[in-house]
Symmetry: C2
Subunit: 416 residues, 2 copies
């Protein structure tokens, strides 16, 4: 029997999450037992509020254009469903909406918090006796999902960071004789240092930047760090530091802790680069510059990795295929081939083993002094940034095609 599908984007977006959506929608259109694809307006809130966008109203070329569009085209959200037991109301509302719109497929495109939500939704088949095929689709620049070899979105952020580190370091190098000696780039990564680690891909020759990589997995040692900066500048003329936003001190406090928390209760970070910069000014009296990439690094579709883009589209296609096969509570994950040449394929993995877990940098990826990564890390990271897939430019910037975003007529009362 033909059932409609619900697709939603969740959590922080990436430069290729729309490519996943594009591939998923185009694949779904090929399957006779899938009716329409409704995209949730602002993620799962779209389901709860019955704010459904009818993607069947979009032309093929409009859906294809999503492949080169940054951000989350249908809106994302930071909203985690509570436990089934503590908030049955939310689940009952979901089922109400699903029933009203004949939805039998649920696709949730997010990170580990979202895998948890998807896992809970996948259980309503059993617990509330509503038949649903729920597939979580990986997406996170943090690269911290377990089981999968890497996460769609990460490779592109890594390419942005490697390229930016390389470009800025050529700049600093040329200024160092009379001006800026130290450059600090702050990158994302709350608990896992994958993004900071990817800056190592900026290197070509010995002595190339980055010279110091500060990871959230390693407690910040101020004395050791300043010693390393001093040594690098005296040997090299300049020093480039890449620092993760999640860097902590020996009291287990974020160096850049702000007082605000996000909707998941995580501390909201930002500002470790100026902290480090002040330290260098104060203690070493060295002129320095600092940059904070923030959203720029995760939305930089103009420099997405082709490998990452292919994988982002691949998981979208597989999600549909798994659902049509009747799977529930799984995630299509990237599996790396064992050979020397990089290969990858996609396989299903159970959400129960993914939800809420976090993959940090393994010890073997962190250098002995704690301020760099090992060749093993580089070997892992290198393939993920390979290939370019520049968007089409119009008027000097990447072209963004307008979507119709037609909302489905509501059949239910408002959700309270």
């Amino acid at each position: 029997m033909k059932k409609n599908a619900f697709y939603a984007q969740s959590g922080g977006v990436t430069s290729v999450i729309n490519a996943t959506a594009s591939a998923l929608i185009l694949e779904a259109r090929k399957h006779k037992n899938i009716g329409k694809i409704f995209a949730g307006k602002n993620g799962i809130l779209g389901a709860l509020n019955e704010d459904l966008i009818d993607t069947s109203k979009e032309s093929i070329s409009a859906i294809e254009s999503l492949q080169s569009r940054a951000g989350g085209a249908f809106g994302s959200c930071r909203f985690k469903l509570k436990d089934f037991e503590s908030n049955k109301k939310e689940y009952k509302r979901l089922i109400e909406v699903f029933k009203a719109h004949n939805i039998g497929y649920f696709f949730y495109n997010g990170g580990n918090d979202s895998a948890d939500t998807a896992f809970k939704v996948s259980q309503i088949s059993k617990k509330l006796n509503y038949p649903i095929n729920c597939i979580a689709i990986p997406k996170t620049v943090d690269n911290d999902l377990v089981l999968t070899d890497c996460c769609p979105g990460f490779g592109s952020a890594a390419k942005y960071i490697a390229t930016s580190t390389m470009e800025a370091s050529l700049d600093v190098k040329s200024m160092a004789a009379t001006s800026t000696k130290v450059f600090i780039l702050e990158v994302m990564g709350r608990h896992a240092g994958w993004m900071a680690a990817s800056s190592s891909l900026a290197r070509k020759n010995k002595g190339d930047a980055p010279h110091i990589i500060l990871l959230p997995e390693v407690i910040f040692n101020q004395k050791k760090f300043l010693g390393q900066v001093k040594k690098t500048v005296s040997r090299n003329g300049y020093c480039v530091v890449v620092v993760s936003e999640g860097l902590k001190n020996n009291k287990n406090k974020f160096l850049a802790e702000a007082d605000t928390k996000d909707a998941f209760g995580h501390a909201q970070l930002g500002g470790v680069a100026p902290y480090i910069a002040n330290l260098i000014t104060d203690k070493l009296k060295m002129k320095n510059h600092w940059a904070v990439s923030d959203y720029l690094q995760r939305s930089a579709r103009h420099i997405s990795s082709k490998t990452d883009l292919d994988q982002a589209m691949g998981v979208g296609i597989k999600a549909i295929q798994y659902a049509v096969k009747g799977m529930n509570g799984v995630m299509p994950i990237i599996v790396r081939g064992k050979g020397k040449k990089y290969t990858w394929k996609i396989e299903p993995a159970p959400l129960s083993k993914i939800a809420n877990l976090e993959k940090k940098l393994p010890k073997s990826y962190i250098s002995k002094n704690g301020m760099d990564v090992t060749p093993k890390a580089v070997e892992y990271l290198q393939p993920l940034i390979q290939g370019e897939s520049f968007p089409k430019f119009k008027n000097g910037i990447p072209e963004i095609k307008d979507l119709k975003l037609v909302e489905v007529k509501k059949k239910l009362g408002p959700w309270t």
Copy 2:
């Protein structure tokens, strides 16, 4: 009679300053009355210290590869020659080095401070009776040189800013329902708002970001600003602010003033984005994110403007042609055609009318409320970011070819 040439990079580098060097060196190799091109190691310091790089040792393909290399390949410097009267010693040393290496051409690639240095050097023909053809070549992301329609380096930074603003705003837009409502991007521009203004090129439709542009030409009005943010968020769901590092308060103080000064005595800035972010958190209680591009925006060769690159190369070629014609104390400037379709050509202009002057945004480019630019500004800016010229990528990042950088054997004692 055949004379050698000296070429030096000066001040903050751009993503296309090496393209100017490349075009200049390749053009010089065509002229019989120019011998070798010596590049100053770290700008004019290379002349004073007799640190000369012999570019004739580099292959054609190595010189061509400079066209896609960020930073300043020979090293730049922040060093301004003192007045002729107050420091004759420096000028005498220059002549000593020029004589020792048979240098009759002097090319200085920089901004308005550098135009001043070049102007002083051009006068030693007359004042110290040493024949020299001195040409200053424009370069600055600040776009603040007078007479020239625009400055090589600016168009590329503008393209980076427009693209980044567009990409990040698609990201914020998708997060705004439950999370980040305001995004702040800090861009360079100490006294002139050209770079901040270029973010306006990110817009396509009405309501598109950026919603507020804070320029150094307009005193910051906190109340008006916060009102505008509030209005934008309630109308639009989110608000993107682009702010120039040089934004000042009504006491004529930089909002982000640091205590350090650079070698030219300018206050060194950075950090107005976190200032604005704190304001929004405190006064409006709105979740926000901020980014500081710093060196990333001026070194982003991966997204340079083709128009800018062509102009950067054009001024390099013309510099050689002017020098060979016997000109002295001039700069090749970009002259915009008067027709509706954008055209440009290069003409010589006297350094005496350029040195030390600063071109700010004209009043007609600033919107009435002081927090945006006018259509006239967009009309001026639009052509400068047109066209792409992606570098060749290798291993996932832009390829950087190694240069030999062979230093010329010293003939003089050290400069003290």
